[in-house]
Amino acid sequence: MKFRRILYSALCAAALAAPVAAEDLTIGVGGTATSIDPHFYNASPNNSIAMQIFDRLTERSAAGKLLPGLAETWEPVGETEWLFTLREGVKWHDGVAFTADDVVFTFDRARDVPNSPGGFGGFLRAVAKVEAVDDRTVKITTHAPSPNLPGDLANIAIVSRHAGEGADTTDYNSGKAAIGTGAFRFVEFRQGDQIRLERNPDWWGGEVAWDNVTYRVISSAGGRTTAILAGDVDIIDTPAAADIARLQGTDGIKVTSTPGLRVIYLISSPQTGAPMKFIRGPKGEELAENPLADVRVRQALSIALNRELIVDRIMEGTAKASGQWLPEGAFSYSPDIAVPVQDLEKAKALLAEAGYPDGFQLTVHVPNDRYPNAPAVVQAVAQMWTRIGVQTSVEALPWTTYSAQMKDFAVKLVGLGNATFDASSMLINVLGTADKERGLGASNDTGYSNPKLDEMTAAALTIYDDAEREKALIAAVKVALDDGAVLPLYQQTNTWAMRAGLAYEPRIDERTLAKDVKPE
């Protein structure tokens, strides 16, 4: 009797489920997410996954506009306080109700995750105190006026206290603590191979199109192209520049792209010390001083480059040449800062003026598995610098080795995602004088220090008026560029290729979000 009832109900369930076939989505991604812990590593592959399982107080649209997330509204109270009002009726994946206390827990945890290779503390730099006023209201007190706070918080995934208390990164990777409020639930994480997710039917953001989602890691660009051509995956990110024309010309595949936020730049170490290992005199002799400490040398290196040519020949149009680190249209982009024009004569004159008429020898480092075409770009840079007398050799290393030795390099190629959507992440984290207490220079491994720039940055970031803040930021950007502190080369274009019948609005922050892939 009992058995028959079970059989009957199983048949019923099957009959009900049958008309709605399970919709599966397989995504081929180039970057490997190193953890499910959303506070472990601030890198695009990790964030792409975190944005499926978890939500943030504020969210960004594909174009970078700030949208309500778990917080419905927010407003500044006085100079140094913000009130966030949370969405009602949101539930964690395990059914427990989401409250303001989870936010308090999150902001405490996200600051410092053990063994994190690059965490989220920088986004919470301004935060002094987080309090739950009631279940639906969070009060955040800041050290100084912080108009950027809602934007910064769009980077911090909210985790639950009941699952996350005492949990470490491995508990998230195993799924034990990976309880979010997001559009998908965690199913399985196999690092470097694949991540599987399933639909969260109770998501506050509405219905998503997919029952099951698989993120498959295919690190070689050629491999991704082959996978989409063969129909093994439904959508891929970052196809190789050389393959884009072929993909566009293939029936049943479409390509979508947008200018991205990520800037690829060269940065030099002006300090004398370890970087001198990679700088020699024109005949290979030791130098007493670091030529890169001279602003004229840094400027000469900048105007020796033909950025348009690099973008045209090597990036094949999948990037936009730039003289500043923000793309056109972003907050604190300045139309007055042109792409530097190549001027070899002037570059040579500047070198001679700085005391290096015969140039010097230089080794430039570049990661060979992180940014598309980066080794080829640096070889082109080496050609151009050699023409002004700076005999340049190139060393390409895998990212794991590269990142461990980065602080000793004389000149290196790096990319920055501009996660704050304005000039400040470069000004604070990369160019700020390294100072833990002030939350400055978290990624400053070149020893660059410009007190005037630090002052201008700090002042700009306390201005609530958007137009005034933008003006102040642009002034700081100009000071940094005139000082040759960074040599921006180009902003990458973010590209996705998918099978016909799917639509994905290209994101400027290069994240691949299953919840936003829609059937047409």
């Binding site: 050389a242 393959d243 072929r246 090597i314 060979n368 598995d369 050609q383 190139v394 390409a396």
Partner: protein
């Protein structure tokens, strides 16, 4: 002197009985000459950044260069002439291949002969070291060594020597063991010949033929290993590409129809390895007493 010559010619006559082996020998000689005279034969020095121009990148075979010559096999993504790049790349591949194989040959042979000569527990210990080395996958240990020491041509040679010496040691010891019981060894011992003399003057000449065969085979292997390491991004510097790195550079462009960037270096590598292997194979047939065909 004359008898040495006539022995050599007799060897050549035996060798020439296989037409395929003759083709292999001609191929090997041509490849060697091409590598030696690379600077004369190349229209461009592909390692001199001043001679490269990014404006001439990825031109198909037959295009004209600003410098006046023709890109007979096209140019790569940096504007390097593929002919020059292949000739220079061949040079690096051969230097690394021959250099590391020769070094491994010397070290491995001495190690193996010494083990066989000493015998007893020392021999057991030495040969377990060889077993240990041979139980680790080749690529894995080469990658590990390069990751620890950093990238440079010298380190690539070192890495290949470290992973290859054991093969020679094992062969040398096996051959020497069978020689140790021979009368001439006993006679030399009775004469109280010194240890070094015993190993170098008595054992080595009598064990050398299988080792020579092994050497020819291992040169080809070492070149392949260098190409593999370069292909994986752990070999030579990217501004001075060897054949493996040239193939790797072009690999990404395969789907877009820029076939010449990896196809031609691939053919060059294929011809090199194939020729050397043909020569090695024939040497084995001649020198190995067990091989039926002479």
């Amino acid at each position: 002197m004359r008898s040495a010559f006539s022995a050599f010619f007799r060897f050549l006559r035996v060798y020439a009985r296989s037409p395929l082996a003759v083709i292999g020998l001609i191929g090997t000689v041509l490849v060697l000459l091409a590598a030696i005279f690379a600077p004369v034969l190349s229209p461009q020095n592909p390692y001199d950044l001043l001679q490269l121009d990014i404006l001439e990148s990825r031109l198909p075979p037959g295009e004209q260069a600003y410098a006046g010559f023709t890109f007979l096999l096209g140019s790569d993504g940096q504007g390097r002439d593929m002919v020059s790049a292949i000739l220079y790349g061949l040079r690096i591949s051969l230097i690394v291949g021959i250099g590391s194989a020769a070094l491994a040959f010397v070290l491995g042979t001495l190690f193996g002969l010494t083990a066989a000569y000493i015998g007893g527990r020392v021999e057991t210990f030495m040969m377990r070291l060889v077993d240990l080395q041979m139980s680790v996958p080749t690529i894995l240990s080469a990658l590990l060594i390069l990751a620890l020491l950093g990238k440079s041509i010298g380190n690539v040679v070192l890495a290949i020597v470290i992973v290859e010496w054991a093969t020679y040691a094992r062969t040398a010891r096996g051959t020497a063991l069978s020689q140790m019981r021979r009368d001439y060894v006993e006679a030399a011992k009775a004469l109280r010949m010194g240890h070094a003399n015993m190993i170098l003057r008595q054992l080595l000449p009598n064990c050398i033929s299988p080792l020579i065969v092994l050497l020819t085979m291992q040169i080809a292997r070492a070149i392949t290993l260098e190409a593999t390491l370069s292909f994986l991004g752990l070999g030579v510097p990217i501004t001075e590409p060897s054949l493996g790195l040239l193939i790797s550079n072009g690999y990404e462009l395969m789907l877009s129809g820029t076939y010449w960037v990896s196809l031609f270096p691939g053919i060059a590598l294929l011809v090199t390895i194939f020729s050397i292997n043909l020569v090695g194979d024939r040497m084995r047939q001649i020198l190995d007493p067990k091989a039926a065909q002479r």
